[in-house]
Amino acid sequence: METIRPASVADLAAAIASAQGAGTTLALTGGGSKRALGRPVDAAATLDLSAFSGIVDYQPSELVLTARAATPMAEIADALAGAHQILAFEPPDLGRLYGRKPGGGTLGGALAANLAGPRRVKSGAARDHFLGFSGVSGRGEIFKGGAKVVKNVTGYDLPKLMAGSFGTLAAFDTVTVKVMPAPAEVLTILIGGNDAHAAIRHLAWALNSPCEVSGAAYLPAELTCHSSVHLVRGCGTGVAAIRLEGTANSVAARARALATDSSLWRYELPSELSRTLWAEIRDVVDILPYPASAVWRVSVPPTAGPDVVDAARAAAASAQDVAAYYDWGGGLVWLATAPGGDSGAAAIRAAVARCGGHATLVRAPDAVRALVPVFEPLAGPLAALAARVKAAFDPARILNRGRMVAEPGP
């Protein structure tokens, strides 16, 4: 397959414009780390955006960073660390989940996939920190959306639409994100228990407190053994994990405020171990180390999380075929299922339909992802609207054709 690697925005626009004219479908790639996320793309050529790399402007006191879209996440993280700041949406590094090296992601890719880590419950997803961009639409036109300041309502909020559009609407050249101060300390309260419903009630109790909880996850007993944090690995039960971040005094005071019944197994993890545990929860692969299985990411109302898991288990050939843990207070379920058949799609999606939400087949063999909708199928009128929105930006459907929904040929 031909690879086009434009070096400037003008080249990028020319490349897309000529592809549009010729009806040449393009597979967009930044670092290529998430190529296996989404449906297999039907493309005649690869549009390699890796030349658009480097931080353009970073002013810590403005809480804004502007970078070329294919700037590696590692470079962004380093620059931010120098000013004690972070991307508050805590983007996961999904590289290893796809059997690749870690650290391959780019900022534009994280935004295009609308990534979000455990801090989603407090600070939002990529969408909430994506302030502005410039890029090229499927029409080959250079355009921009949003701006470079933290507060802006001028015109439609195009960065929101771009977040999670997986390169199907435009190719970004430059992006601007909101950044936040890095917390000085992290503390994690671990509470032992084997009942997912009870654990989620614990998480809700913590999230519903004034303690500004910034992570709330539950790992069942069959998965705690995978953590590299010895306290979690060796506890022998499931573990609810509640994260507190801030200054040392504040974190300690909030941990005291979240006092639990003395009959419960409870432990407090200090900063370094906390960081390790939450990185494992964020990046998935450490907790679900099953390279052959399909992996689902399911977003539902927090109290409904266990119902989705129950439904997936009930439909599986054997209950052991399904492994699952919960983040976002129960609202994000990571499920590993047997990769054959529909990988559990029918049961999982039926359960999601009952409570509201969406299920994404994050990892599965190409053949499965070509057959099973990777993203939650939309109801008729909404699907039609999505198609009209796609056409507004990319009428010839040349950008990442088929990545989000099955699309017929030209």
Partner: protein, 495 residues
């Protein structure tokens, strides 16, 4: 202000249209009498008034859908309206349009503490949501100063902010889902009690779309537990430069206050005269920094902020000693608009955002412009996020003053864009900033946004004349549409 020319064919069918609408929304839900329609002729940008052709007040989603379907079939324009507190003219009626008032959608539908959210109808006021959950210890975070009056539907349409949005986000960061009805009468659900979208983030686009994409008939918002403590510090500075530097230093120190507001001398004096908040009158800039959270943390951060303030030359530092005092500090700031209203017959509230580092430069420019346009101005500023509200004082009875006030406002907004900022941080474009859109966006940018509009409302019947310069006007000008002799965007509908 040029609005789309009224459609004579629609006006001539007015009686028939009113009768048809009465069949959809029976009883008092259709308002035809002129004196009753008057109540809807403007929003809070009251310099612009237009009597709507007819007012419709539906009370169910099915009625909204039927009204929109009818209007779509009969090519009748529709302007949605919440409480009419828009400061940008977003709810200004059209002479040939249906004014769709959402006031009857005033019920809280579900309080779901376990999932930390509330489902409300769009006509519930912003404060009404907090009121529904505060006995349980929760609140809804975005807090526009107009919160006792403005509706959550209006907040969604404008993506409204408030003094606490630096830490807690704007409306868009706090809305989980909506039910909304397209101009064709289709009822769609976006989001719900879960987070993020499975496909395109349509919710993210609908929030802040100023009533141009659909009519919101239900809103799900997340609620937060009330912080354990909140305390505020009042800090006076001998110059706005010093105040601006203090703000940057607070954020540079890794502190994100719950709120961080700044006022200049004229605003301080007006607010103090109005609210007797105990503001120092011998300072050029006054900061209110509120820290909220666990008590221990708040005490620690208050001290840190006080230290930073002194390093930056603060001449006045007072820390709220009680909840009453904290609320008093805010009372002054929150009544800044009515306070200006008392010293001037009319005022225009501008709403640009700038990179904070450019604050003193922009304030100097505003002072110059004030002299050039011979109009007084007072500045209040959401300092934490760079959102500036210059309040331009004038007398609307004097047409020349109105013209000058608008020219002054436009100059301020152009300055905001020049320094890397934007036309509006929270009040929306509406009609007020519509004709300035091209200072921020070029014709390609605008065309793409219009195409997005077309994906939702192909005939351009929903709230036309707002946000985007009227397209046929652009065509008349030629400047925007014709480049290098080629007709651009020939495929775009003209409305």
């Amino acid at each position: 202000m040029k609005m789309p020319a009224p459609d004579e064919a629609v006006l001539s069918r007015r009686m028939q249209i009113v009768a048809d609408l009465r069949r959809i929304v029976p009883g008092e839900g259709v308002i035809d009498a002129e004196e009753e329609r008057r109540a809807y002729e403007c929003d809070a940008l009251s310099a612009y008034r237009q009597l709507p052709m007819v007012v419709v007040l539906p009370s169910t989603t099915a009625q909204v859908a039927a009204v929109l379907r009818y209007c779509h079939e009969n090519r009748v324009r529709v302007v949605p309206r919440g409480a009419g507190t828009s400061l940008s003219g977003g709810a200004l009626p059209l002479a040939d349009g249906v004014l769709l008032g959402m006031g009857k959608f005033n019920r809280i539908l579900d309080v779901d503490v376990a999932n930390r959210c509330v489902v409300a109808q769009p006509g519930v006021t912003n404060l009404g949501i907090t009121n529904a959950v505060q006995h349980l210890g929760y609140y809804y975070a975005p807090d526009p100063s107009s919160q006792i009056a403005c509706t959550i539907g209006g907040n969604v349409a404008e993506n409204s902010g408030g003094v606490h949005c630096l830490k807690y986000g704007l409306t868009t960061n706090n809305v989980l889902g909506v039910e909304f009805v397209t101009m064709e009468g289709e009822v769609l659900r976006l989001g719900g009690k879960h987070l993020d979208a499975g496909g395109y983030d349509m919710l993210g686009i609908v929030v802040g779309s100023e009533g141009l994409l659909g009519v919101v008939t239900e809103v799900t918002v997340r609620i937060l537990r009330k912080p354990e403590t909140a305390r505020a510090v009042l800090i006076g500075f001998p110059s706005s430069e010093a105040g601006g530097e203090c703000v940057a230093a607070v954020i540079g120190a890794g502190i994100i206050p719950g709120g961080m507001e700044m006022m200049d001398r004229p605003a301080i004096h007006a607010a103090e005269a109005f609210a007797k908040a105990g503001y120092p009158l011998d300072v050029e800039a006054l900061l209110i920094v509120e820290l909220d959270g666990p008590a221990g943390e708040v005490d620690e951060l208050i001290q840190a902020v006080e230290g930073i303030a002194r390093q930056h030359g603060a001449t006045h530092v007072r820390i709220s000693a009680s909840e009453e005092e904290r609320l008093l500090f805010w009372a002054g700031r929150k009544s800044a608009f009515p306070a200006i209203g008392r010293i001037s017959p009319d005022y225009l509230c501008m709403d640009g955002t700038i990179p904070r580092g450019r604050l003193s430069e922009v304030l100097r420019r505003i002072t110059q412009l004030s002299a050039e346009h011979r109009l007084r101005v007072a500045n209040v500023f959401h300092a934490g996020d760079g959102n500036l509200h210059p309040l331009i004082m004038f007398d609307a009875n004097d047409p020349d003053e109105l013209t000058r006030a608008e020219a002054f406002g436009a100059d301020i907004l152009r300055t905001c864009v020049e320094v890397g900022g934007v036309l509006t941080g929270e009040h929306g474009v509406g009609i007020e900033k519509r004709d300035l859109m091209d200072t921020m966006f070029d014709d390609t940018d605008l065309a793409l946004q219009l195409r997005l509009k077309c994906a939702f409302d192909a005939e351009g019947l929903l709230n036309p004349g707002k946000v985007f310069p009227v397209l046929h006007r652009c065509a008349e000008l030629g400047r925007v549409i014709v480049r290098g002799g080629k007709l651009r965007f020939a495929d775009l509908p003209r409305f």
